[in-house]
Amino acid sequence: MTNNELNELALKVRENIVRLSTDGGCFTGASLSCADLFVFLYSKFLNISQENLEDPNRDYLFLSKGHDVPALYGLFAEIGFIEKSRLDNHLNTNDSIYWHPNTSIPGVEFHSGSLGHLPSVAMGVALDCKWKNQTNKVVVVTGDGELNEGSVWEAALVAAAHKLDNLIWIVDRNYFQANMATEELIPLNSIKEKFEAFGWNAIDVDGHDFEKLEDTFSTLPLGNKKPTIVVAHTVRGKGLPSIERRADRWFCNFTREEVNALLEELHENKMADLNSETLVVR
């Protein structure tokens, strides 16, 4: 896929995210920050397709920051893992499209929602792949706020100790946790240096630049007896200037009119006029 094609796909995913941000709402800001990452990973990096979802030799992606369902399902709907019409069933109890992932959705490897869980679950899968001499990759995506959880540091120690060099941990570094900037609450800088000190390969990258993502992911030091972390620097709300980098636009529940205005904003960069309540804390 060319970068233009990737950009086109990412735009469709963003449209899906915006469309899910009404009638109950969803975690819009956090989903927009990792939309490009998912587009890149599933299009260019991961050996995961509709055909191999049951194949033990496939690559694995575990979404630990579970509230990014709109980005994940938004992509799954575009690449055929689920019918696009199923997104209309958001928050409908007759389907299973709710705020956090579950394995009844094809392509979801494990449920999440409680933060700090999937690094260790991914490590169990990575360990088994190594025990079986498989060469597939195991990817786990966490947030940056998620790194407040003690369990992620426990996992970071254990993965390095057991040399899980088929494990790739991606941090969606959007500099926000639920309701405020990460550096205001629990400062995390520098994530790269912290993980290096823990014995990891650690790499910073612009999480919205497909060319740089390609450079980084095509040269990962896999198999060097260390697990690898990629700190993807992103922007919360990316693509919608009216909600970008705003602490109060994490969970969004817009009116239909606002959704239409935001869809226009995506395409024409014309700031939407938003009056919906901000700071809906979940």
């Binding site: 490897e109 260790s120 169990g124 369990s151 996992a155 120690l157 100790a161």
Partner: protein, 314 residues
């Protein structure tokens, strides 16, 4: 045969089984030295949460992880991982909790798993086992490990006083004796104490029943309802808080079946136990055979007294 030999035999026969520990090697000390099990054993260090998360990941790959940690830290430090990663996904992860209940003897309240049964049984689909002694445990484990259900087992290396029924079925208890006056329902390391208390009471000419409630979930409802019908008094003896353990389980079974019974509890009520040498702990807390027998006699006398009063006022 001991625990380690059993787990080795099982793992060598079936490559689905993997052995994990959060640096609690007491039950699996020699496994890491077995060249045939190199790629089947992992010690994650003192990381109960990470161990459980990894166990879930291994189970996703078709493995059956048997995991080891001290019962208190396994069931409480890692509880949300057990509930969320193992429970919600209903994965066949087999938890073995070391030094549960009074077996933490001199450690102190930090190490006292005396609410473990209460919290673990609250997870949908999770099985809970508490063998009476080492032999009972070795009888039960093959069945437990072959089952598809996630489970928690209270490890127990106490030497047996009683030759257990070698046929163990999940959901069934072991009726050691039937009794018209009193029936003891107990599990785990207190079985031996209650076994001896029963003998003391039988020497007094009383008819005393004893049931080894080795399987706490799914529980043997039929046996509970039967002793409720046939015994004058049920005495539940457990090294667990009164809340949420076997006393609560029996209450739930009776209520669900609209049945009533005279039930008394010898358990830990709203307090941790005073740590010390195991025999001293048992005596101090009132769980030596003599003290169980005396407390039971007192319960019977009180009942008799109440009965007399009730009769005389009519």
């Amino acid at each position: 045969m001991n625990y380690e030999q059993l787990i080795t035999e099982l793992a060598l026969a079936d490559e689905r089984y993997v052995i994990m520990t959060a640096e609690n090697r007491a039950l699996v000390r020699n496994i890491p030295n077995n060249p045939l099990l190199t790629n089947r054993f992992i010690d994650t260090g003192i990381t109960e949460q990470t161990m459980i998360g990894m166990a879930a990941g291994l189970a996703l790959r078709g493995r059956v992880p048997i995991v080891h940690a001290l019962a208190a830290f396994l069931t409480m430090r890692a509880f949300e991982f057990i509930r969320t990663d193992v429970g919600i996904a209903n994965l066949p992860v087999k938890l073995t909790g070391f030094i549960p209940g009074f077996l933490s003897d001199g450690n102190g309240p930090t190490h006292q798993a005396i609410e473990d049964i209460s919290i673990v049984r609250g997870i949908p689909g999770m099985h809970v086992f508490a063998p009476a002694d080492e032999e009972d445990m070795l009888v039960m484990l093959p069945e437990i490990w072959h089952s598809k259900a996630p489970s928690y087992t209270r490890a127990n290396l106490i030497k047996p006083l009683y030759p257990h029924d070698k046929n163990f079925t999940i959901g069934k208890s072991e009726v050691v004796a039937e009794g018209a006056t009193v029936t003891f329902l107990t599990y785990g390391m207190l079985f031996n104490q209650v076994f001896e208390a029963r003998q003391l009471l039988e020497h007094q000419g009383l008819s005393i029943g004893l049931v080894n409630m080795r399987c706490l979930k799914p529980v043997d409802e039929d046996v509970i309802l039967k002793v409720a019908r046939e015994s004058e008094l049920i005495v539940i003896v457990e090294d667990h808080f009164k809340t949420g353990g076997l006393y609560s389980i029996v209450a739930e079974v009776l209520l669900n079946n609209q049945q009533t019974a005279n039930v008394q509890s010898l358990s830990l009520n709203e307090s941790w136990f005073k740590p010390g040498r195991l025999a001293d702990v048992l005596s101090n807390e009132g769980f030596s055979p003599e003290k169980i027998a005396v407390q039971t006699m007192n319960m019977l006398e009180t009942r008799q007294h109440v009965n007399t009063l009730t009769t005389s006022t009519h």
